[in-house]
């Protein structure tokens, strides 16, 4: 299980988990789960199409996910955000299906892009993933304070003279970057699970931003590494394990929170009123 050819998988999954959890913290905080789902999915369509046309998977991923992010950011200024997201992702996937219809490749490649192929990662790919992941983390670190304020209290941020829309577009670009990092190795669907599950679980357990982020990273790492081990043992696809573990971690965290609240409310009603908020 820890053989050298599997070492790449452990490393690359770790990188992706850290990036997904850090970006996912803001995704859950802002309630922009739909965007987190839409951007990797349209990236997948671009990669499937462009890769098969011979334009390079990473290029296709980058172009489509950036296109999705900027399009949603631009159109979302006026229209309702969720409507625009739904339309943009449909448009990009439609274009991807056009490319696919031109190519003559078979489904396994598409399946890998959708559900991940973490076990076949080469050394070169680790370098690219690490580079893009580091870029993502730096961007989040730079945006951290203004983005946190704009996410929690957009009115206050606007009153302070921040350009909330520009900040939002920047955040969308970070999501796109994270998607480009992760989709070739872990697949579009898995990336989405990793962004949402651990961060939602962490937010159940603590309300302090940095602590929640750290907790989300730990949970995400547990999810992917556990999934690799389970996938190695049973030979089932890794995507289904990551989704199960991520969803399970959220359920556990929610149960834990209820249990804590219940104990608080039986011991002292005042603390429960404060903790439940």
């Amino acid at each position: 299980m820890f053989a050298s050819y599997l070492l790449n998988a452990w490393i690359v999954a770790g990188i992706v988990a850290v990036v997904a959890a850090v970006v996912g913290f803001f995704v859950v905080l802002r309630g922009s789960t739909f965007v987190a789902h839409a951007v990797p999915q349209s990236a997948f369509a671009g990669a499937a199409g462009a890769g098969l046309l011979g334009a390079g998977t990473l290029l296709g991923l980058g172009v489509f996910s950036l296109g999705a992010a900027l399009g949603i950011g631009w159109l979302g200024r006026r229209g309702r955000h969720d409507v625009v997201t739904a339309l943009a992702v449909a448009m990009l996937i439609g274009t991807g299906s056009l490319f696919l219809s031109w190519s003559t490749e078979y489904a396994p490649e598409i399946y890998a892009l959708l559900f991940g192929e973490v076990l076949g990662v080469s050394g070169d790919e680790i370098g690219v993933t690490a580079l893009l992941g580091a870029l993502c983390l730096v961007a989040v670190a730079v945006l951290y304070r203004p983005l946190l304020l704009a996410s929690v209290a957009p009115e206050v941020a606007a009153a302070r003279g921040m350009r909330v829309h520009r900040l939002e577009t920047a955040f969308l670009v970070v999501v796109a970057l994270a998607g480009t990092t992760a989709v070739p190795v872990v697949g579009a669907l898995l990336m989405f699970s990793l962004m949402v599950g651990p961060s939602a679980a962490a937010r159940c357990l603590t309300s302090r931003p940095l602590r929640a982020m750290a907790l989300a990273v730990v949970i995400a790492l547990g999810c992917v590494w556990g999934a690799i081990a389970a996938s190695y043992q049973t030979d089932w696809p890794i995507g289904c394990y990551v989704a199960t573990f991520a969803g399970g971690s959220y359920l556990l965290a929610q149960l834990l929170r209820w249990a804590v609240q219940l104990r608080h409310s039986t011991s002292s009603p005042v603390a429960a009123a404060g903790g439940g908020a």
Binding site: H37, R80, W102, P237, C240, A243
Partner: protein, 310 residues
């Protein structure tokens, strides 16, 4: 004149059976999606609509594994997932989105497993692609009557629920004050949405299904604010986009690069998107003009659109 008709409608268009089925299916799906889509946009549940049609993968793959007809897989999975979503969801939009996302991610994990088992069992490469990108031209003749029946039933239930649902969508507080069971109504709507997306993602594919649900409705709501008019307009826009898409896709068998035809979903999605952009631009221009007429220098340039216009 004859050559124009000949150029637009490639030879054999009107006598082709797949085209006839596609035209009927497209009409039905566009009407049902348009009516439900107006509520989906008003209630801000585009993500739920998108997620439910994404789960077409789960429905299709589990039906293939269980050996039942795909329709039952789609409908069953859709209704179960809609129930779970409503169970977890709260009234706040942010946490509702997170709940939808979590349910979607878990369900996609399951569909990954089912698809994997499906492809390893009979190693047909087409299953994934067909389920994901399904096409209007592959609708089989047997499902069309069932499709029409279920679509009509959905519209009938929507008519019965119309008034309380509209009130609940526009102002949940007011509806609750009037004694309308808002939560139950939300569940009923989500189940209805699941049924409609199941029908449409089975017949037109999981790409087209959310586009037809949200796109025409958003376009119509830009043009009119009366719900019934918006529903009719959305149905008309969706039908027009679908039919033009069918014509273009049929023509595209003569186009480069492969001569195998371009996917019909691509044409329809592009048309829907272009229509939305057009009405968006028109609304933008008219707002700018009325703003100039008002001669109000204090008016903020980046003001959000008034509620309900979106």
């Amino acid at each position: 004149m004859g050559t124009v008709v000949h150029t637009v409608f490639a030879p054999g268009f009107f006598s082709s059976d797949p085209v006839r089925l596609a035209v009927v299916t497209g009409l039905m799906v566009a009407l049902v999606s348009g009516a439900l889509g107006v509520f989906t946009v008003l209630r801000g549940q585009s993500f739920a609509g998108h997620a439910l049609s994404d789960l077409g993968t789960l429905g299709g793959s589990s039906a293939a594994l269980a050996g039942v007809g795909p329709l039952w897989g789609f409908v069953g999975v859709g209704v179960v997932v809609a129930g779970v979503m409503e169970l977890f969801g709260t009234r706040q939009r942010r946490s509702r989105d997170v709940a939808t996302g979590l349910v979607l991610s878990a369900a996609l994990g399951l569909s990954a497993l089912f698809l994997y088992i499906g492809t390893t069992m009979d190693s047909t490469t087409g299953v994934t692609v067909t389920i994901l990108f399904g096409s209007l031209f592959t609708v089989s003749g047997g499902t069309v009557p069932l499709l029409v029946l279920l679509g009509a039933a959905t519209l009938a239930v929507l008519t019965v629920l119309y008034r309380p649902l509209l009130l609940g969508s526009v102002s949940a507080e007011l509806a609750a004050a009037r004694g309308i069971p808002v939560r139950l109504l939300g569940l009923a709507f989500l189940v209805l949405l699941a049924l409609a997306t199941a029908l449409s993602s089975m017949s037109v594919g999981t790409i087209l299904s959310p586009a037809l649900l949200v796109g025409p409705a958003a376009t119509a709501l830009r043009l009119t604010r009366r719900p019934v008019a918006a529903m009719a307009l959305a149905g008309a826009v969706g039908t027009a986009a679908t039919w033009i898409g069918i014509v273009l896709a049929y023509d595209s068998y003569r186009w480069p690069p492969t001569g195998r035809g371009w996917p019909v979903s691509f044409f329809v999605v592009t048309l829907v998107f272009a229509l939305y952009l057009l009405t968006d631009a028109a609304a933008r221009i008219s707002t700018a003009r009325s703003r100039r007429r008002d001669q109000d220098p204090q008016y903020p340039t980046a003001a959000p659109a008034p509620a309900g216009v979106n």
